[in-house]
Symmetry: C2
Subunit: 499 residues, 2 copies
């Protein structure tokens, strides 16, 4: 493909992306395909002779688009949002056009320089303490692919620091703390590193948040058992319920009595809400700023910058470089040797890195702080609308207090007298199965301390009030059908039926 | 930004990318900026109110482009190439326009489906054994971000398998094998996992390749010392010299006498040359197919698909999923539960994943196998041209045998009588410093068993014969100046001067 062919194919791509967004609302959210559908449609091998690009571009429309789940659809309420803005797409386009692996300052100076700047801009709009800024030359921020990567990097840094302080402790005695509500990234970090993981229990009464006293008890138990907790992955805005660990209590426990324990705060989803001053208290910003050794939030979830755009800030960059720096001769450079520039490769797992800061720069500038704030508050208003509908209905109840733009609820009809948890779980599994069978709207299932429930997460820019009304109508209708079927089945098998 | 604004900004982006490629040859390869240059040019904070996108797009030209090292420049011969083709840029553009985190089959069926297909297509064009194909449902291929990720995943899988077979072995007794020429990814995997690493020595006589007998000796030594080697990261095409470990010998040692040791073959750069049948023997394809537990090559280096596009194939996918699968309730899905689809999240470190298979599909189709072969042979021809120039000169000598599209050489003028290695190293450091100070061409330094040398790696599509002539002229000229200065200095300080 030469330059003029690229120009034509590029214009067409832009036009077709416009068409996609124009038609998005009328597409199904969930594709109607079965596993293996694509292999049946494609040849078994790459062609020997190259094909005309127009054919390939047309095949994208024909074979690829119909197999996509549309995360940008206004009725996509599953998992967490995966923001995708036009400015961000343009950022990726410009960045990919020069494909620079940016592993050293010298192999792409602007890649490092811009990352250092936009991470400071981002820290500032979120209200993070100055000690997390790159300008301190002590702490700093780095873009990772995902919150999994960020947590893994923090865990490696924490382990490395702990082992330096306690060189006699064998790996088998180290233990990573999460809670039962921490994202699977905690368990995965433990699996990858081959370390013990302990998930501390949390209760519905505490709104699924870890308390300082529970942490203190666990730390004592493990010390008595000869184990060495070296990191706690705490959460602001858990996946299942939006719970916020009591960082004010936890921070005191860790910093006053157990300073060798690293505190990593994972706010992958909720962290971007810190852009609004009115949510900083509920998101425990003061405690993050006082106590966190590292903090992560994903702009690629609710933050208008598309995947991958996970931010990791640390208080001491040397904890990363001490743990991750390997510099062979062929990676040495004048700027690295004289220490005048950040070499971000030593702040993450990989050597080569995509030029991800460009999309941050585009979106932060194009929207401004006010644009971010408006996006967050718009979504929260829509969630209030949804939660209000759930609150008023006699069909549903909350399983957790609605938080920011997340509502976790279940079918719990007032018409049922004293249902047991297993009965309600069975009813809700049937209810969710009905929702999941629809292609025009998407939710996610979860379980909170044995209670099966449904998550509604709002976050795309295209969702408007009418979509929330429709979502309420859909859950209302599917809830009624699920209940009717369930009652009929119960009548048939007898009142004592328990799944 | 609304749809029509995106259309305009998108067209402009395409046009400006065309302009970039039209002007590329006339740009400096290396930017003339100092650390911290960008921060001085940009505001200290993100704007409060959003800015007009035209201003941002213009600032990209003004502030970003001048700070880039141009890896696509025809005179970029540093490190390894970072291929960037128009088809690949279009693949990224379409993929980013729908931003789908694709962690499950069900959250973006086509993301999983297409990855499974293009990894089989890629395996096939490289001549990999069928046991690496996804269609076997036993082995399979997955796209990782980098060869670092691929090696780390392989190491985690190997450790997990080893510990299952030897549950009594403590982590402190495990040891990861590399050679002294293995890429830093080996040492980094050890650092991340907190495991011992042993770099087995290789010699210039063996062309910097690991021999079976040396491996056997090391295995015996470590067994006697109570250590447990569990993985060997071998290389086809080492970074410093293009060395190829003797996989035929190594494979026999490992598979016959030490079957618990995992053999990972890192062919990050050279692996794509397997597309040409004539290079399969020299790249040890038969031994890869007979003995490797896992194999990695990066299409984002020499393979026309831009970063990130690292391929990892394994013989047994359960070794990955046994080591990496964590499935909480909110990630469960019908398709995952019933096992009818791959859940690629359990084949890598991260949960969310970019839709990277699309650019593979675009490039593999647009170029066809013949297009790939032509690109590889064109580059190798250019390297032959360069190597011929070095061979004929009385200034330079090879430090390693030229391999594929890599030549490693040093200044070793015939006019010098019996120079010592330290003397030649000092002369070559001065020579390389002159090359590194130029902005119109880029090479990389390295060291091979104490010998300082210069690497010339060819790989962009835009490099033509004239660029090679110019590169020869540049090294010739800089070599003469470096020698003249060195001789003058030697005359001044006396003949016995040793740096």
């Amino acid at each position: 493909m030469d330059i003029e062919q690229f120009r034509r194919a590029g214009y067409q791509a832009i036009d077709r992306i416009c068409d996609y967004y124009i038609s998005l609302r009328n597409r199904p959210v969930i594709p109607q395909v079965e596993p293996g559908y694509l292999r049946k449609l494609l040849p078994a091998s790459a062609p020997t002779v190259g094909e005309d690009f127009q054919l390939i571009a047309d095949d994208y429309q024909k074979y690829i688009l119909p197999g996509l789940t549309h995360w940008q659809h206004p009725s996509f309420f599953a998992y967490f949002p995966a923001a995708c803005t036009f400015e961000s797409i343009l950022g990726e386009l410009y960045a990919s056009s020069t494909s620079n692996p940016g592993f050293n300052w010298s192999v792409g100076p602007v890649c490092t320089e811009l990352e250092a700047v936009v991470m400071d801009w981002s820290a500032q709009i979120l209200g993070l303490d100055r000690s997390f800024y790159n300008t301190t030359e002590v702490g700093g921020g780095v873009i990772q692919a995902t919150a999994c990567d960020a947590a893994l990097v923090a865990t490696v840094a924490a382990r490395s620091r702990y082992i330096r302080e306690h060189p006699q402790v064998p790996m088998e005695k180290l233990i990573l703390y999460t809670t039962t509500q921490t994202h699977s990234l905690g368990k995965k970090a433990g699996l990858i590193l081959g370390l013990k993981v302990r998930a501390l229990p949390v209760t519905a009464e505490d709104e699924f948040a870890l308390r300082g006293e529970n942490l203190e008890v666990a730390l004592k138990e493990d010390a008595d058992a000869g184990l060495h907790p070296f990191i706690l992955i705490a959460t602001v805005g858990t996946t299942s319920s939006g719970g916020v660990d009591k960082l004010d209590e936890i921070g005191v426990v860790v910093k006053e009595n157990h300073p060798s324990v690293w505190l990593h705060v994972d706010a992958a989803w909720a962290g971007v809400a810190l852009v609004c001053p009115e949510y900083r208290e509920v998101c425990q910003l003061a405690a993050i700023n006082s106590y966190a050794d590292s903090f992560c939030t994903n702009f690629h979830k609710w933050g208008l910058i598309h995947f991958d755009a996970s931010c990791l800030w640390v208080r001491h960059r040397t904890h990363l470089t001490d743990a991750l720096d390997v510099t062979p001769e062929y990676l040495r450079s004048k700027r690295g040797d004289d220490g005048t520039a950040i070499d971000y490769r030593n702040w993450n797992l990989n050597l080569s890195r995509r030029f991800r800061s460009l999309k941050f720069w585009f979106v932060l500038r194009s929207r401004g702080t006010e644009g971010f704030q408006k996006h967050i508050t718009d979504c929260i208003k829509l969630n209030d609308q949804f939660a209000q509908g759930i609150r008023k209905s006699d069909q549903f109840s909350f399983v957790a207090k609605p938080f920011l733009a997340l509502t976790v609820f279940r079918l719990a009809p007032e018409s049922l007298s004293h249902p047991t948890t297993p009965e309600l779980n069975a009813l809700n599994r049937a209810f969710y199965a009905r929702l999941a069978a629809r292609s025009d709207i998407a939710f996610t299932q979860t379980e909170l301390n044995g209670v099966f429930c449904v998550r509604m997460a709002i976050g795309t820019e295209r969702t408007v009030e009418g979509d929330i009304d429709r979502a309420l109508a859909v859950v209302g209708e599917e809830g009624r059908i699920a209940l009717r079927k369930w009652e009929r089945m119960q009548a048939e098998v007898g009142l004592c039926w328990v799944p």
